[in-house]
Symmetry: C2
Subunit: 205 residues, 2 copies
DNA sequence: GTAGTCATGTAAGAGGTTACATGATTAG
DNA sequence: CTAATCATGTAACCTCTTACATGACTAC
């Protein structure tokens, strides 16, 4: 249901084609709910069938056509309902930690390399998120600008703040990942020195 | 590939039936990679077909039978390879934050309720995780005990520490969630007091 | 003309959820 | 005898990914 929610949310700012939607997805909610072209187009067709959105054919050049979607009243209702309903927390999966459970199978060097890659991954993510947050706060996205135009000025602060705060969550989580990985590097070092001194004791004995 | 990895990991401690596996999943890596009976049994059959695990029929009571799976050499290799390979970080999805992006549609009261539910959710999760971590550190699980028996005593510390540290990650992340939700409650309060003198929105235009 | 962007799809398959179906064994 | 547990599945469905396919339009 979340892709559907994302589509409703994006369309609530302005009508657009499936192609536009894919671009705006990346710009706005893309970090929160990525979607491929294949899935986006399919979902749009399905939602049109269910009356949540309405597509109208528009000319494009002389021979070609494009389909511009906009929210219906039912779609607007579904969007509100989606925010109103309590969120059903799905099972979270954590492939990295699953593998980490078996790091005892690895040489310390490889374990360290994996953890350093983890840190690099989330550092990069934080940079990207901060750039996005700045983009939101400065209203650089045409999608966000369109959304603001739909609302009175006194609502603008909330719209922008909620968006930025949503990405702020991802920053906090990424920072926690880095903290954890650093601690895990300490753990690896400790395990290594323990096994090192053992070897020394054995060698000495 | 992660369910497969989880199966290999669990089976590397001891041979067992699909039914046992489901129970041990919940006990050990269940928080990291939950799986349903349907999926578990299917995956086991598939992995048997690919020679990663081998099932032997064993009698159960007088008429019934059960299938006990164990790792093959290929399976052991696959497990090692799975830890050795760099982890391919998947796209992460965040349904809660996606909804949060549109909290401006909600009355402040409902926004607060959602955030409080968020805090409650992760507080509960932290409690459960801490209980699990204690269980690991005290070696309460028969699965972990079996695993330790397979290894020399000087390896025990690492095995236990990695497991506990894996769940420790989830604790850190859950704490970050709570921190974020508290900050978001402050944000809601601020927005509300800003709009305090103004008339608040009601109804759809 | 050709490269890049705009625009829309289909098909196959992996991975996961939910619901249902079946029957034996064990503990009380 | 009954209920809980042990044990194994099947079927339908949803979501998401990957790869492929098509063709018009625009700027150079």
């Amino acid at each position: 249901m979340s892709l559907r929610f994302a589509v409703l949310g994006v369309l609530s700012s302005m009508p657009m084609t499936g192609y536009d939607m894919m671009r705006y997805f990346e710009e706005s909610v893309g970090t929160l709910w990525p979607s491929s072209p294949a899935q986006t187009y399919q979902e749009l067709r399905k939602m049109e069938g269910e009356g949540l959105i309405a597509g109208t054919l528009a000319p494009r050049g002389r021979r070609a056509e494009k389909r511009i979607y906009e929210l219906t009243d039912a779609g607007r209702e579904a969007l509100e309902l989606g925010t109103l309903e309590p969120y059903g927390y799905p099972n979270e999966r954590d492939g990295f930690r699953l593998r980490f459970c078996y790091f005892e199978l690895l040489p310390y060097e490889v374990a360290r390399a994996h953890l350093n890659a983890h840190i690099a991954h989330y550092k990069l993510q934080i940079e990207q998120l901060k750039a996005r947050i700045e983009g939101i706060e400065r209203c650089r996205s045409p999608l966000l600008q369109a959304r603001l135009r739909l609302h009175p000025p006194e609502a603008h602060e909330a719209i922008i703040a909620y968006r930025a705060q949503a990405l702020g969550a991802q920053v906090l989580l990424a920072q926690a990942e880095i903290t954890w990985a650093r601690r895990s590097l300490h753990l690896v070092a400790k395990l290594e020195s323990n096994s090192g001194s053992r070897k020394q004791r054995k060698g000495a004995a």
